[in-house]
Symmetry: D3
Subunit: 256 residues, 6 copies
């Protein structure tokens, strides 16, 4: 990877040295909302793992239902698409098949997520926002992901593996950000992996109208990246970005 | 500088490659609230400049008034102390002598600050919070600092120097953080420069009771640093930190 | 219906052309908090349906308990009163008898509400606020109502009827509005149906002390209606209003 | 004008029967942020008046400065462009030439705005948001516009004309909405006047990169319009919208 | 005064042993919004002082303007009414005649208020809210009152008298509380002085329509007082209350 | 008890005349966060009861797990320590043994808490904050405590004892207050019982590093107590305090 364009020339890029874990309610969410972050991780040679709590088979597959497909066909279709997209990004994907619309919070599902945290030992966790008045599954997924990350830290929690450290958690961008109280505090430069994200989006043909929508969003967040980047002369005019909100304070050795 | 303890072993520390500018209402504020950030900057060989809008001669010099000193004596005393503290931290300090209690916002004072921004070309700006129900000068200083940073970016603003980039702005910690809506989003590891900050505090003998108060605070924020740092095994048990709040979103090439 | 007094003379009133659905935790809530909105709907010839999740038999029937009535007697009494009030307003009412104090959220109850949404096909949905530190049943009802409305939109949700459109959802006014973070963004002119609301309130004799309380509130919100209405000369001096908060943004063809 | 697509078939569109007043800090702001609302007003045969407090000569004319133009040339250029854009939208425009970067709040400028309110007698007022960490002129304009609207209501305020009614005030969308705490509560369907807004944008050649940016934004807000519109089958797939936030509660005769 | 009904039988009432200072933008504000608090103070034998920054001659005297009175007549009228109301409550009143609509913030006016604070040595300060989208004078008065209280604490502030302690500041209730982000955290039992407040209101004949409005409000806040009072059996059914919001945390020797 | 130093000399201390009930997620929480409030209650001769929903056996006993103790040993150890600490404070303690990490909300557990409320008849209730991104058990405990207090008020709730009054509820301080949106509105002077709190902390030897941490916190809150206390001359320089946030408005007979 060449010099990171959001940092000044003489600054080595900060690096999260461990794996990335993405907890997503439905197959597909991780592509639109965090595909760039995933691709950056993979490009840096770090493992990226995506957990889809459901296939989005009921709530996010309108076209397939209109075409008269069965529930099983739809789940198979979404699984296949998501696997292709994950491969395009360089990530592993696991499906918990917990059902959607509604995705129900259960201690069992949280326990599954704890075990995955202990196994993956993520350096960074990504998930949905805690508020989303348009979709109850997204906050449910976020609550379970955060709870699992907390539980995985406790030595007394009865699951294989060592207690987790305290990886930062980022919320990725919801479809209507302002309505979800999503005020970005982190703009991630994904210019260098943009083509990879676009290809991953194109693995989801049923949502073709989203390809351009999320391309436009990446440009828009790219404009904001330039506006907020200190010495922004190094950024290309047509950079692309993804927006995130931290759950916990950033810890750092330097203000920048 | 050795490896930054808040990052994993194989991660180079992020670096803000340019100067630091601190805009503070009174002499003394920069020591208690941002002394660690200043010392880290100086230790990295980068310039650090402190602007004190006033000496804190009326509002923050109670002991001197009780001792019967005159206004001029108090200003001289506060100047001298602040110069010593800045020197201990490795920073330059400039006094605008704009008066305190109240510190009045004026276009002239903002213009002074614009010119200083154009001259210093800061990579990072630090100032007070925008809310402080205990002290009207602090928000006044913050409003002027932010306005000046914005104006300095405009090529059409009539002042010497080139238009400024978009340096990040951080609010440093007020005395009663919760009452000022100060919810830290950035915890800065100042362990390596702690002794320097302590020495700078000791340059302010009239406020000796604050030395231990801010030492305790640094420990407390240090405990939080450890709690929020991902792979925190590298952090010493007795680390010290300062807390900040960003005004603008962070721009980055990697989530960490 | 004659000219709507909150609009200027040459403006036809906006009309929500479909049914109204009100989801209320206890029998009685819909009268005090949304009786005007319901009566306006009925007066415009549109269907209005009220769903009471419980009778309020434990938590809102203190007088009956003090009089020594049995649980079944109280439920019958509350049902009868609420039916009378609904009839006075021109609405249908259905009781789900899910129990109160506490009203427990269950997937089964949400499913019932989804089916009702699909059946009623509401153009507008009214329910409680999401926060109420004095009453846990109110937020529970609101959460289930909102979740049901979302689920009813999904073609893949297995329930009879077509997927729902996206009817706006309004929260009606809680008893202590400020404590429930209820900041009205919609003031509804109910002057023309005020007598009907008063009559409906009088169908609830056990809460006679509330009649004047909610009459005063209607006046107070009426004063605010006049204060916020653009060309308010058309409004009578003694107008009555109900206050609401939207969950989703208003969509409109004209700013007014 | 044909039936408004955001309302159901049998609903006449709500109409704000009086003039529109737009108070904008710089020439240009009104085009990007409220061009659709202005064009809708004009298309309905109602007067639309734009007040530009400054030309944006210092803060929003970077290209002209880089080309070496003088201050007077820049002001003339911006005036001419804004006049063309206003004409394309069907609005009158007035320039107060109060200076920008910074735009200073003065009682005199507020008084000018009071007189304009009394003269125009707006049914609706549009202005900037009260928060904008990237631009101090925008909130300054908003504060003055709101103060002027309040003062114009007072019979005792010494200015020609009758006391104003209480026109609703809407904040239009800032460049980085989330950072300005802009949570849209009103989505305005501007599909029918979209071409007119695009033409007006093209009157501002120095900011050509904004044409597509704001076209994308209109599409994005259009998608949200469809998502939030009740019976949205009537909306075209490619509708366009502008987002606004109300300062005061909506007053209405019907919930919709 | 007999036992305070909001405390349990064996609890002596808490007492603020010093004077009360009320800073109000217009003549009249103190009656509607804080008349009960003032009367309670006077009834306890403590001094109560009201400072009216203006007479409300332009913004709150619509009837007099419609009757064709001159500015001087209106000011004299408002002064006389306010003096009568203050006398009915048992308070002193001082008029600074700083003008209203707009009430302009000036260092001179703040200095006047500092001197008054030093002179009165209040144990409690009451003023407006910091937000009021309907009235710019109210927040201006609040900002000046708070700034003056802070400045009066500084020994270095050049004004007669000793530095002030740290009296608690309460915001009194605005006309449209929710729109002013007024979430009451303190409900004051004014039952015992209710008749005195009513008499004071009746000293303001031009606003006769407000008498019942604020009587209803006192009842409504009284209902809330009962709802929130621990052992509320001691409270009369028809108690009256005023609502307030603290600016600073309460300091106490016992949780209650 | 001598004169309460946070009140003026001639003011009797306010007194909450009934029992105190503390609902805490884990054994230990009540010591660090509310030990002073408990000791003050006991010192005033009022009953204080602590309910620990769990022993904190999994989430708050890291050292014991590292030492290889069994689950039963850890529970016995935590019970014993908490009993000692409660005794040192003068409180009764009851353990519900509901499990931790996660503490699951159940109707059965809420019912237990309702019965305890009816039995204890608390004049004041203390519990955790509703937000805590570091610990899911704390908000779960708070939600159950608040729900139980509400249910216990209903005469129709089927549990022994009379309906509860409306005791005030205070949230005690979480470990990272700002991250839990904990903005203290009540500072309790615990100077007179400080030694007792310190002794109680020392009953928890496994968390020895917390002794000084919470001693420092008590000093820090003590400094804030002095800063916010009206006539603070009566307060000792080295006073100690605990911070709380009210859930409901304070009801009072006097502003102070």
């Amino acid at each position: 990877m060449t010099t990171n364009p959001t940092s000044p020339p003489d600054a080595p890029a900060p690096t999260a040295a461990g794996p990335l874990l993405v907890v997503s309610a439905h197959a597909g969410d991780f592509v639109w909302r965090a595909g760039g972050a995933i691709a950056l991780t993979a490009a840096a040679g770090r493992p990226a793992k995506v957990v889809c709590l459901s296939f989005g088979e009921r709530g996010e597959s309108a076209r397939a239902w209109r075409e008269g497909k069965s529930l099983d066909e739809i789940k198979a279709l979404r699984r296949s698409e998501a696997e292709n997209a994950a491969a395009a990004l360089g990530a592993d994907v696991e499906f918990l098949d917990a059902g959607d619309y509604p995705l129900l919070e259960t201690p069992q599902l949280v326990d599954r997520l704890v075990r995955i945290h202990r196994e993956v030992e993520p350096a960074v966790v990504l998930t949905h926002t805690l508020a989303d008045p348009y979709n109850g599954d997204h906050p449910a997924a976020a609550r379970m992901a955060i709870q699992a990350r907390i539980l995985a830290q406790a030595i007394g929690y009865d699951a294989p593996g060592a207690p987790l450290g305290a990886p930062p958690v980022f919320h990725f961008e919801p479809h209507q950000p302002e309505q979800c109280d999503f005020k970005p505090d982190t703009l991630l430069d994904i210019t260098s992996v943009w083509e990879r994200k676009r290809k991953a989006m194109e693995c989801l043909p049923a949502q073709e109208h989203m390809w351009d929508y999320y391309t436009d969003l990446a440009k828009r967040r790219g404009v904001q990246l330039r506006r907020n980047a200190g010495p922004n002369l190094g950024l290309p005019h047509d950079c692309r970005a993804e927006a995130f909100v931290r759950l916990y304070p950033q810890t750092t050795g330097v203000l920048a």
